[in-house]
């Protein structure tokens, strides 16, 4: 657990910028921290890292399979290797290396998917990662963490350095405001953060969708509906204790993620709750099973209802069920 950061200079930045800053800070004091990049130090905000710590960055070039294989070799020899690459390529092109060289061989590589979800917007499907939760959930021995704000990012990177197990960190490009200034809402891998509490409905979101979920809760409050908002930053292992508590305490559940609705965090929640015998009005929000409409990240998310208006409308709809 950690209290809300007092370092206000990192708040309001893209999470991947914060990742790079925190990693450099930690790497300066720990020579075993190695950034491994696939011509991705620019988008990964690791140019300064490479300049200041040239002995601690390994440039692979555009070769994601090799990126992950080399990182696994480094990790097997005691290095805290952070393999940094756009999430779309890292978790598709190098999936077999993630499965075998990292997870199955238990080489503790820290996989960092940058510009995740639909961050690349109009660059299109090749650059979108809407499958990563689904494929990684189906692989044993990996923790999946999707920080929502700069605080969660800072804490997640620190936790990933301390943990000696395979982990996937997923970051977007958008500047993210702090979700809460409540210092009692700490961060721990595997424990969802309850950002705000209400008894009528729970909105369980992660990554960059938590902020619109919070805005949706504000809209719902204006209509007399009290919503709980959770940042379910750890997709695996899922915080099932929190899920049970939410199911006990609230009347309906909406999940929101920047991921295809198939196989993501929402389905993970649904699977757990159904098997526990909870039957509630339940809606999984995300990208449907189609190639997305063209647009910026915000335009795409808005198009599919992953917005304050879309989430609050969906919440009202299922409350009527």
């Amino acid at each position: 657990m950690g209290a809300v950061t007092t370092d206000t200079s990192i708040n309001g930045k893209p999470n991947q910028d914060v990742f790079a800053a925190v990693l450099q800070q930690l790497a300066t004091a720990d020579r075993d921290i190695i950034a491994v990049t696939s011509d991705s130090r620019g988008s990964g905000k690791l140019v300064k890292f490479g300049t200041d710590l040239p002995e601690q960055i390994v440039e692979i070039g555009i070769a994601e399979q090799n990126l992950v294989g080399v990182a696994a070799g480094l990790a097997s020899a005691g290095k805290k290797a952070f393999a940094v690459s756009p999430a779309c390529f890292l978790t598709a092109r190098a999936l077999e290396q993630i499965k075998n060289d990292v997870c199955y061989s238990d080489n503790p590589v820290r996989l960092v998917g940058i510009s995740a979800g639909v961050s690349y917007g109009a660059l299109g499907t090749t650059h979108h990662s809407l499958h990563d939760f689904a494929v990684l959930r189906a692989i044993n021995n990996i923790t999946i963490v999707v920080p929502a704000d700069n605080f969660e990012t800072e804490q997640a990177v620190k936790a990933a350095v301390k943990s000696n197990k395979p982990v996937y960190l997923r970051f977007g490009k958008k500047s993210m405001p702090l979700l809460t200034d409540d210092e009692t809402v700490g961060f721990e891998i595997g424990k969802g953060r309850v950002v705000t509490k209400g008894k009528d409905i729970a909105i369980i979101a992660n990554g960059e969708t938590v902020y619109p979920a919070l805005q949706a809760a504000q809209k719902l409050a204006e209509q007399g509906v009290a919503a709980t908002v959770v940042s379910m930053h750890t997709v695996k292992p899922l915080d099932t204790a929190l899920l049970s508590a939410i199911a006990e305490e609230t009347g309906a559940i909406v999940t929101v993620e920047e991921h295809m609705v198939n196989g993501g965090m929402g389905e993970a929640c649904a699977s757990y709750l159904l098997q526990q015998g909870y039957q509630k009005p339940f809606k999984i929000m995300g990208i449907p099973d189609e190639y997305t409409v063209t647009g910026s990240q915000v335009e795409i998310l808005n198009h599919y209802g992953v917005s304050a208006d879309g989430i609050s409308a969906e919440a009202l709809k299922i409350l009527k069920q």
């Binding site: 390994v58 070039g61 090799n66 294989g69 080399v70 077999e96 075998n100 060289d101 061989s105």
Partner: protein, 274 residues
Amino acid sequence: MTNKELAKKSAEYRKKILKYIVGAKAGHTGGSLSCTDILNVLYNEILNVSPENFGSPDRDRYIQSKGHCVEALFVVLADQGFFPEGDLETLCKYKSHYIGHPTRKVHGVEQNTGALGHGLPIAVGTALAAKMDKKAYRVFTMLGDGELPEGSNWEAALTAAHYKLDNVCAIIDNNKLQITGPNTEVCDTDPIDAKFESFGWAVREVDGNDVKALKEVLNAVPFEKGKPSLVIAHTVKGKGVSFMENTLKWHHGVPDQQQYETAIAELDSVLANI
């Protein structure tokens, strides 16, 4: 070890490989027999690896990229004392740790392999770590010639040369046959030497079933300062059992009792004449 002693080891290893493949009713017979001499020379002459130092960060590493030829690896590891040889009677049996590919559940195995094209990138990463830590250990990996079309090999070959990793050595078990047929008909990767040389590697060729020649070439690693080393080991698939040699069906053929006895008799006769 003298060359005679090494030659005896190879024949004994081949007998055991066949014994455990017959026991498991499964295995990659031809490839295990082709790479036996390479593993023999590596573990008995070259690698600074033992059950005692396996936890040491300074040990040499061996990563078997052609994971399907695990029977040869397991037999050699048992002989090195990593585990009792009798354990191999459980090979591929229900709940055994001894599965049909290398697994770290077995003492002495560095990496879980089996999917092809994975050994070299991991070896390169491990060798990079050695350079960063200014450690003297070396990293060896053995590839099958049939796995060379996997693109990840060539990605790793670039990285090894880019970082001047003369502490990594790849050995290709060049037995020239893969499951569908001759490599040249499936996907012709020749000339392997020129390809790796153009990628910045120092390359040598050797008779990969000649322990004396293998000893000489592997003792010469690194072949050139600042360059990764590649050994193209020309081998015979099914080596040591005449009816299996260069015969496709023995890629993963399992001998019946009569074939097994014929093979053992042939290897015994080899042993008697060393």
